[in-house]
Amino acid sequence: MKSSTYERARTPAEAAAAVGRQQGAKFLAGGTNLLDLMKLEIETPTHLVDIQDLGLDRIEKTKEGGLRIGAFVSNTALSADARVRRDYAVLTRAIQAGASGQLRNKATTAGNLLQRTRCPYFYDPNMPCNKRKPGSGCAAIGGYSRQLAVVGSSDKCIATYPGDMAQAMRVLDATVETVKADGATRAIPIADFHRLPGDQPEKDNVLEAGELITAVTLPKPIGGKHFYQKVRDRASYAFALVSVAAVIQRDGSGRVSFGGVAHKPWRVAEADAALSLGAKAAAERAFAGATPTEDNRYKITLAERALASVIDQAKA
């Protein structure tokens, strides 16, 4: 771990300015991912700006009838919130399917959106990895790729976004609110927040240098039955091979986002539109143009079957 300086900012704008001011500075929230990566020197921030004192730890109603979730709200608090459990159950289910109780106590809403890939080649500094070291190549392509992306990948990177929470936020059409280093604010639809790897796999998302997530807002509740089906080799404490976040209405229409398959939560409008036609029709549309490896081709079948399970449960 490289030495870095540390400060605790007092306001979001001050935090953003502090990170924007210094090359290599980063925000520190729960630290459940960043600190691990710093120990391996995969992340080497020169300066850490701690956001725990910014008052971003509240969940509030919005005037549109939705919820604004502060960036520093813990996974535990968010998943336990009575309004979330009642109106956005897919979010509670997704969060509780992830990590462990201890980690969820520390992990934050903003931090979870920024969780980096769990590709094993990203984690081994001896291996080429375009995400870790741009231009060095991708060891995962042609290597051990059972858990990696099947769709939306590039010839530079087949990493996945590993989180659960964001899959639920994707089907809920959440918005990520930020403040930039110059104090300007913006609202980024979750659909546009994470990137595909393309030629720049080192960029996980569209945030600019010094841009701080202040909140995630959820629109007013959309009703329906809420599901998060996470498929994995062991029963707990594992990243998804495939996950399905879905909200399904009484008439069979709905929304679906697939996790564990791409560099971002994978929601395709045509798949949503085909949901009432069944899992096969929806999955075909969601994975049109998929480019799996021999190791991870099974994920396409798995996604379809996991979706079938959700649809059957919705009918039950």
């Binding site: 081994d124 707990s236 099974y298 079957r305 079938a308 399970s309």
Partner: protein, 732 residues
Amino acid sequence: MEFTAPAETNLFDNAKVVGKSTLRIDGPLKTTGRAPYAYERHDVAPDAAYGYLVGSAVAKGRLTALDTRDAANAPGVIGIVSTLDHSAPLPTGTGNNTALFGGAEIRHYHQAIACVVAETFEQARAAAALIRPSYARVEGKFDLAAAAPSAPMAKDGSGKPDNKKLGDFDAAFASAPVKIDQRYTTPDESHAMMEPFATTAAWEGDKLTLWTANQMIAWCKSSMATILSIPKENVRAVAPYIGGGFGGKLFVRADAVVAALAARKLKRPVKVAMQRPLMVNNATHRQGTIQRIRIGAGRDGRITALAHENWSSNINGQDGENGTAQTASMYAGPNRLQANYTAQLDLPEGNAMRAPGEAVGHLALEVAIDELAEAVGMDPVELRILNEPATVPGTPEKKFSDRNLVRCLREGAARFGWDKRQAKPGTVRDGRWLVGMGVAAGYRGSPTMKSAARATLENGRVVIETDMTDIGTGSYTIIAQTAAETMGVPLAQVDVRLGDSDDPVSAGSGGQWGAASSTAGTYAVCLALRRAVGQKLGFDGDAATFTDGRVVADNRSWRLADAGNLSVTDEMNFGRFKRDFDIGTYAGHFAEVGVDRYTGEIRIRRMLAVCDAGRILNPLSARSQVIGAMVMAAGSALMEELAVDKRFGFFVNHDLAGYEVPVHADIPHQECVFLDTLDPVISPLKAKGVGELGICGPGSAVANAVYNATGIRIRDYPITLDKHLDRLPQVA
């Protein structure tokens, strides 16, 4: 003391302490954090500096240069040891299949090339990242399947080709009405013990002390002397508490070597704990296997021909993972063939892991038996019982010492509700789950090794000292129970001190020989102490009665404390008569699983082991051993796999996020039952080990249960959902 004939009735047959469920006597120290482990010996090495290992970034080639200038100048750095400090690899210690340090040659990924020593752990780690190695990389061989066809035949324990034939297998198989011919594969596996390799090393003059995580203290002492080219008497190895080993800690590893070298060079105690990512590629693993099993049988299910061939690998082309290890002792059948081949691969060193050979041999053999049962239309419990041998099938000149496998299977079937199993696979549904049951038999040999101890009478307390280790197994407690029983004192009046090479040499912990051997050694030395007490007080110690802290002899009675302070050393030697016997432990393993009919996810519902291992010294800790091994077996069946990158030549998933072992949620219900048996051939205590028995069979029971649930047979472990997903029934 010599154990020269099967035990007769003795004091253990009326035991008051041995055989009773007893809480670990070291438990309070562990649960309150006062049991010192190798890396936290602040008590004896308070000024230890921190060493951080650097592993090779390439799998094969040469280290052409090691630029340490920036690292040396980094904050807090005291010094650096480099593999290039040595012109050639240092000698290997007992059991090592390749050198641990020294020289420029790189033989495997994450081979230790340097260790940076600093005032704090964080400084050492930061400086280690500043080391700049240069390599000349060469191509290596990393693919077992590619290397297997030309792999040479392995040597057996006596150096002969590992190829055993009995009768005429080829003819019998060719003419058998029912034939099974299948190939099974098991992957490379990691011990993944909680405590990594760790050593604190300190020199006083030319004397080295190592506080280290090691299962075999005497091997550690002699190995370190060999590796460092110093006299054995100048090495002391100490390991009172060990955070799991599973065979990985049988032999010294790079942490011990490098800590000793660094402490000598820097004239200061140095401690090194292997960082988790190095625990896979720097340390040892269980090698993957390819196994072919052919069984010929009559339509009645009686086996006439049985062949088990095994291919594995190692870095030196020797000491492979021998899946055939149990086959000679399991099923009858007059015509037999067993062969074992070991390829040379440039993957990291393979070495012993819990039940080496048998653990993965069962994963193949016990599934083949299930396949045979189906082929002849017999219940797999009954098929096993039908083929129960009268003499040892592969070595007919030997007798079984005490074998109750049939009872294990019958009792297990009754307890598990086996009669409710549907023979036709894929027919039981419970909501979204396809449900199946499976059975497997288990066999693990029960060796014993010479074991010594010192017994001291000190103000009426009995102190047992030996270099025996407790790797979490409960050695402290069973040794204390044995001493309490033999000396006729309450358990609380016994102190046990373990893991110090200054104390008499024990059997150590490995191969499930520790419990039987070290308690026999304890018994031997306690008998010697009884004689010494008799001599002091003037009676024949062998004829006296030791009970309730008193001694009764010649119609007189003394307090044990009246003998004053005495100390004796003795050992148990096991006689040649044992060679006439196959001394084994046995189990019937049962499992029920659910397979999610949508996703193919496999979840265990319940597991049962009925075990036959002679007298159970401490049912509480023995149960812990068995259920722990069942968890490990479940992992090997369903998830554990070191993924080989055949281009770069390393195990990719080298941390506990990537190498999945079962979590609590994977193991909802386990039951372990011990039969009330005694084996007089093993030792005076008639007690055998169980630590490895528990991993021999449960994985196969799980595999057979998965088949029973789905009707899809997967012969490549681990059985993960991707391997049967496209053959599961259609959904939606």
